[in-house]
């Protein structure tokens, strides 16, 4: 066995062990912050597996999108709402755990069955290597154009939704002062506020 293939095998074993152990930790650890950081580790080792498959562009995109954006956002959300409180014990916790464990075991069995019954094309098509970036670009703008555009529309909708949720002050203004209601609530929480639901809509009084 040559040095290159031995290195590749060792890397594969280490990366897949990290992925499996890390994802078990994500699910099983009681501390949600540890779970979130471990999730980053799992994403990184999946990127490593992509690298082993000669898909360097996909690996870099995986790091940029999942580690750099998704995982950081998860951490942000956890750290901004992190309350140090002990959760009340839910009744019937053991039954719930057993049930979810059974569902996961069933899914795992199904996946194993699929993995063993599928006839994998070994050794598969030759890797395109550095040409992969060009190939991905061609596919995204020809036969995968519709899914690509649909995904971008979905993201745009999510973005608009997030802006609407974050900026309620656009929809409710204090009638007396004319300031955004949320801001007023924070600054003078004791003064009663009359909130007009939509500022732009003409009310009954102003109608001719």
């Amino acid at each position: 066995m040559s040095i290159a293939s031995t290195t590749q095998q060792i890397c594969f074993l280490v990366l897949s062990a990290t992925t499996v152990v890390g994802s078990l930790g994500v699910v099983l650890l009681p501390n949600i912050v540890y779970s979130a950081f471990l999730l980053g580790g799992v994403f990184l080792s999946v990127a490593g597996l992509y690298l082993l498959l000669n898909a360097s562009f996909v690996a870099a995109a995986q790091i940029l999108v999942y580690v750099g954006a998704v995982n950081v956002l998860i951490l942000f959300a956890i750290m901004l709402v992190n309350k140090q409180e002990t959760l009340a014990v839910i009744p019937g916790l053991l039954v719930r755990r057993l049930l979810s464990g059974a569902v996961c075991a069933g899914l795992f069995a199904l996946l194993l069955r699929v993995a063993f019954t599928t006839t994998w094309a070994l050794p598969g098509p030759p890797p395109v290597g550095e040409e992969a970036t060009i190939r991905i670009g061609e596919h995204l703008f020809t036969d995968y154009l519709l899914p690509f555009e649909l995904a971008s529309v979905l993201l745009l909708m999510a973005m608009i939704g997030a802006i609407v949720l974050a900026r309620r002050d656009v929809f409710s203004t204090d009638v007396i002062t004319g300031e955004p209601a949320d801001q007023g609530l924070i600054e003078k929480e004791r003064t009663p506020l009359l909130i007009e639901k939509s500022a732009n809509e003409p009310t009954l009084l102003t109608k001719p």
């Binding site: 040095i3 360097s56 562009f57 870099a60 992969a132």
Partner: protein, 383 residues
Amino acid sequence: MLSTGLMGATVAPPGLDLQSSFIDLAQGMGLTAGAARLLWLPLPMVLVLVGAVVGVLVSVWLERKISAAVQQRIGPEYAGALGVLQPLADGLKLVFKEDIIPARADSVLFSLGPVLVVVPVILSWLVVPFGQNLLISNVGVGIFLWIALSSIQPIGLLMSGYSSNNKYSLLGGLRAAAQSISYEIPLALAVLAVVMMSNSLSTVDIVAQQTGAGILSWNIWRQPVGFVIFWICALAECERLPFDLPEAEEELVAGYQTEYSGMKFALFYLGSYINLVLSALLVSVLYLGGWSFPIPVEWITGWLGVSPDAPLVQVITGSIGIVSTILKAYLLVFFAILLRWTTPRVRIDQLLDLGWKFLLPIALVNLLVTAGLKLAFPVAFGG
């Protein structure tokens, strides 16, 4: 069209190739090809790592001297000639300091945080070219790898901010992550405009595309807006003043570094300076022609009447390449230091406004204009 452009960009003079010479030499001494390659692999890595650390020492010294000059002081004077050994003394002091982990801190995350900040920065040196073949690895995704790796850093910052169990640290960590996420987008868009002109993500191809007519063919003339956007974003990513919000002394003590001491603090310090030098090097690669000399070396050899393929000439051109890359980078480091000691810090809302409401639209327009110019004038903008 894309592939022909790529072929055109990759055709360049072969230059100095130490790797193949080393492997030939090792095979001549009776080693197999695999073993020779294995023997070669650690050499450039160690060399670049040492280079990066020496670069940090130099920039720390420059920082001390230039800040002194700005404030009409003398600066370090007695440690070595002109105080050149002062950064080394700083480093020694940090090595011998006691390593303190606060009692209520999360010790595992507290120790892992600084490591996660430094490792991606050092890994990014993989793609910095000092010559046609003088880089660790000419990976195809090149500059994209740097953008991806630099997005790991916020996780380390959040980790150290959270695990310190200190409100200043947590706020600093959150600010740092928010800042680096906001400025990553205009940064990537500015890089994308350059990539579009060179038809390749590889740093070597990006430099090769700028080597036609010496200083006139550098990207800074074709991408002046992109250059400014990239430089502002790089400063923000390095958390340099005017963008050092995460460690604003008046508000946050020292941000996420508040609880750190000894070698763990040194890792943050090292990481930020390595990142500064790396950003300067990448600005010089993307916009200032990388290793190319203001007057093309091929012209000079033509005037002198020597063959550019002669071994001695190749060594000299290689050295000129390394020196001009480093000179360009340190010119930018000088500007960064001068900016740090002459500008006030922006507020957090001004910072986010600048990133999202100014740089992002400008970067998008820059990308669009570059695409239009590339279609209109394929000769000048890499068709």
